[in-house]
Symmetry: D2
């Protein structure tokens, strides 16, 4: 048992932190200014591509990919502290080509893609030249239970015909977004977990209609956006199917584990930044004759925030460690636990920071307002808290059978 990061991780983390200080934090304001002053919010602020170029030059690129042929070749445990650092800024993950849903899509293509699929879709994604989206969730069904997904993917000669109504296809608003990975049923009569498939659908295929973009607590999240998409008799070549018919559920499962570690570590990075901002604020701000930092309730908030963050980080790191050592299946309880813990901790810590900032905290003048809503969303995304707790309880009840005392 050893609670220290390896030298390799410490060094990478330091380089990443320096890059954040030099490039990303100063870039935040410019990014949002460019976004606001462009003719449309659905264009990419030029500073983004500049920052990406710098990150690539600095060797801080595709760090998430455990497969060293394509990326940094880091284990989950090694990548986790880096994801935390990236989570400190909403614009950072893209700078390092480590942003969802592209990371998940790249992993799917690395693992299950054909050489042609890799050439055509993975390569430009790895280079950060195009973006992608993931079309799984549907408005009509509770997607927390993935077997509910009702989209239809039907083989017709050398093509598949897709009919689907999807939403929360995040990133589809991005002008660079070139394709979606769509999940739907190819084999409705197969056993429950073998009915689904995943298929690549270029967004310029006839019949693909972006109906609207969804707001998240008032944010449009432009230029990426969360799209509602109708796939109306969309035809793609049969070669676009990933892995094979009926493999959709299995791919989704494989995609989730690392994705959750990433999400959770980013949440912790957000919480950490909120705590830092709060600590700075309360030293400066005076009310009723004393700096906020000297008021007992504020100190309680700081202590509770630190206590919650430390515990959450350790649990996420342990989950990553287990994924690396005993595999995603044996780590499923830990993965479910962190999916509950991380966003809830983040939401609470950020809530306290907002309270310490007062009105400034709910406005665009600090990153807190946006981060707070982000934490709230993660409590739903990839399965709501309750689904993960059910899962933990089920495993716990099964294990409990063993012990006699």
């Amino acid at each position: 048992m050893d609670f220290s990061y390896s030298d390799k991780v410490v060094a990478l983390k330091r380089r990443l932190e320096e890059f954040m200080e030099e490039v990303v934090y100063p870039g935040e304001r410019i990014y949002y200014e460019q976004l606001a002053s462009q003719p449309s919010r659905w264009m990419i602020p030029p500073i983004m591509e500049e920052m990406k170029a710098k990150a690539k030059a600095a060797g801080l690129w595709n760090l998430f990919l455990p497969d060293s042929e394509y990326g940094a070749g880091l284990t989950n445990l090694e990548y986790a502290p880096l994801a935390e650092v990236m989570g400190r800024s909403p614009i950072a993950p893209e700078v390092f080509n480590c942003n969802a849903p592209d990371t998940g899509n790249m992993e799917v293509l690395v693992r299950y893609g054909t050489p042609e699929q890799k050439e055509k879709w993975l390569k430009p994604l790895l280079a950060g030249e195009i973006r992608s989206c993931f079309s799984m969730t549907e408005p009509e069904v509770a997607s927390s239970d993935a077997t509910n997904i009702s989209a239809s993917i039907v083989r017709d000669g050398d093509e598949y015909v897709i009919n689907a109504h999807k939403w929360w296809s995040s990133g589809a608003g991005d002008p660079r977004c070139k394709f979606a990975i769509v999940m739907g049923k190819t084999n409705p009569d197969a056993p429950k977990h073998e009915q689904q498939s995943m298929i690549i659908v270029p967004l310029d295929t006839p019949g693909v209609k972006i109906v609207r973009t969804l707001n998240v607590f008032g944010y449009d999240d432009a230029p990426h956006g969360h799209a509602e998409i109708v796939f109306d008799h969309v035809r793609v070549p049969k070669e676009n199917l990933i892995w094979g018919e009926g493999k959709g559920f299995a791919i989704a499962q494989g995609r989730l584990g690392p994705g959750r570690i990433h999400h959770c570590m980013r949440q912790i990075g957000m919480a950490e930044r909120a705590l830092e901002l709060m600590v700075q604020r309360v030293k400066e701000r005076v009310a009723f004759g004393r700096p906020l930092a000297e008021q007992g309730v504020i100190r309680e908030w700081i202590a509770e925030s630190r206590i919650e963050i430390e515990q959450a980080r350790l649990l996420v790191l342990k989950a990553a460690y287990m994924m690396d050592t005993v595999g995603n299946k044996a780590a499923q309880k830990e993965i479910a636990m962190i999916k509950v813990v991380a966003p809830n901790v983040a939401q609470r810590v950020i809530d306290r920071a907002i309270q310490a900032f007062g009105a400034a905290g709910v406005s665009q003048d600090t990153p807190l307002a946006y981060m707070w809503t982000q934490a709230r969303v993660i409590r739903i995304a990839d399965g709501p808290d309750e689904v993960h707790k059910r899962h933990v309880a089920r495993l716990e009840l099964a294990q409990g059978a063993e012990r006699p005392n």
Copy 2:
């Protein structure tokens, strides 16, 4: 002791509820559609004026005003359940000419305005022809302590010259907004609570500069908006001063009591609507083979929400009762308590409803996302929770001296 609403209140409440069903709820969608399709978000959607005309015709107008010369002549206790109903829709208060900050400004003018001020500013406000804003909060100081306010109002001949940097002047984005009530120091050398004054500043006076509008968790709250305003050597006639020099703090105090009852009852209305939406949702939505309504955790949420709402409502009503019977000063503990309770209850109830809705709950497809951020804001507006709790504790510690046991 009697926990029933009077017949008069029951009848008014029913009329109001019917109006909400017939006019306001159906008007919500239209309002937002018109807002989105207008050339600018800073124009008033025409449906608003139509709904106002209907409310006026129905005698549901200016219900908040306890002074029957100008309004409905209801006590705080009588108005409270009506404010609750209005709180169910973000657009409702304006429909009934009962929206902040105009209500507070109208009360100030009714109580302290000169006949000329009433003629010029109160009358069109009462008629719903113009809007107003309230410029008190400043970015540089913790306004939770009102004596911090640093704006300067200096007499110069027959005029006052105002220099101030204000923000969160809500409503100033509205094209119909004609004046601000500005708080600032006329008498910096007077005792602490007699330094401030309030003065009427027409927004078209030279030197009034709306610097920008603030977002609230991603919402711009157009067409009303929250303005940051610089008052740069702004000159207004001395007749614009309200009540007298040094009366600013006293006016602010008088303004707050009823305003808090209104805010809190609206929060309860919001919570009540969120609970209703949740109850409907969970009956319809199926996950893991059963309606959400049959799942134990969801039932727990419903019960806890009902329990919290009932208690909060009773406490607000009791505070209103005390204001009516023993006065705002004797009711100060109750007023401080509800200011803490109501938005926190609302935030929790709405949070549960969002969780029951999943992704739809954070988007524009339900009123929940917006309501959740509104509840959060109220935990800061008019003094953060902590200031009110300090106040309650101070009163409690003072009383505790008496009892020997």
Copy 3:
């Protein structure tokens, strides 16, 4: 709507409070000293009968009984604030002959007893000469669902034969305890809610065996005690049956409503006393150079305690009001809600007071330690929190059907 106690209640409450100051609080220490110095803990400390005589002389006796033929003739709403005052001391309810389970048993006999039963059992109970217990709960089944009760009561000639294994028969350790009201099945084949009956069993009947007394978090609650009792072929005259065969469930239901109001108001009295003790303590106790009363976290505790108590009290009073005006059935949601709220609030408030007292708070030197465990027990007694929340949710889901919006 009126939030003031009636003059009658105010006057009674004041008399009761004076009696508490003069007799009960000073009697607490003596009571526990006598209990400790007696040859056995299962004897009644003499001061108890002295205090009872004083209460009777002062006309503060049987205040709980709404039937003025036997008691004070107060409504639930009138009795509630008096029960609150009694709840401030663990020994107070008995002083006023208002302690459970005798109050419930007296009510049952007043409503459903035959003239002979009243003469023999009710009269001495009303006079405070004997005590009684209530034998419903069984160790083998979840008694939160009363239809689970499995005891057998079989008619045999002019007698009933009782076989039962009961526990938590509180008060059975008291040497003055003369009879139990036992619940069991007379009609196992009847519809579910008509299988149970209640019957009077004198404790000196052959076959009644007190197996042991149960501790509650280390307290034996002597001299009353919580007994585990085996009824082994116990024979009692058929005249001991209450009301009629199959009426047990109905009696239990009727017994519960007022009992819960009493319990809940006593919890609020406990919480109120804990808050008072805390307020006194923190003014006197100095740590890190300042009285605890000046430390922000302590003030937060005081404010939150006051806020929670006020809300809980209002909800209990409203439930009492509804029982008086629309009946126990229409008030069932309110009754269920207060049963959840009151002990949870009490537990939290007392927990804070303990923390403010430090080690003294967990010892016998303050009433806090005992009160804390009492609050915890009430979260289970008469149905655990979860059963009441299920009930609230069920009613809420049923009502929710009506509203269209």
Copy 4:
């Protein structure tokens, strides 16, 4: 970074768990029966010495001592998981000679004792032949701030004269308890942290008066007991002073770090056992037609308990790791954090288990009732939660100065 226990620890833990199953758990019932049937509760149940002999024979003895000359020579990180296992039973720590306050006293003597002190007091303690107590806390002052301690220790010739009023001297009721380590002021004029000393006082010295024993939530904790002791002109040889005059505060600090790790790991063991008991209970218990295990709220409790326990354990292990690698001073924030986290988690988990057990959970029929009160006490012992949170916040505010972003 590595989250697995070493092979050495895994093996020791397994042996300990087997011993718990074979000897300690079955011994619990016997222990309490013997205690209840003895002439006095202040005698040692014979089974205790039998179990101790077995533990010694099994090599599971003095595991807590990092100094391999006297004990097992384990690091904090190695001992922590063993302390967790011991924490599962209230009688276990003594069985392994690892119970407070003897462990702390032994460590003090190992580190700071003279050869004579070691021979006379440490040796029989290590052998489990005698017991000791620690007399620091005083009723008149807030001992959360150790500089408040007011006892006087005055040099008089070859003796020290001690005058002190102490309480919560735990273990002093034990007939085998032979001495106290008393903390008091030898140098009242020295700098604040150099005024205190510690001295060995045999309990049979004239002037040592055990005034009474304190209850903890109704438990007397016999035969150990928590004593209030008056030291009235008690004279001991000057050789009984530990280390030197003015070293009391330094010794206390050194004593605390490992003590907290022990306490916290035992709390986690308690929580773990409560969760196990709950899991078993809910599988067996049926209410409303279904096992409790199938009810959503219960599953939520299980999941939340698991989530909280896992995080708390990781944080305690990390604190132990830091003490071993960077020292107690550098680990002070982590130590303060676990002192808050562990008992609060334990209290919550046990509370849920009690609720699942219903009335049985608050009685002597499960270990839950006692454990719940134990967790509550630890939130006060060794400094209340609030003092530790202040400490964490102070460190956090100091660190926060560094980062610019």
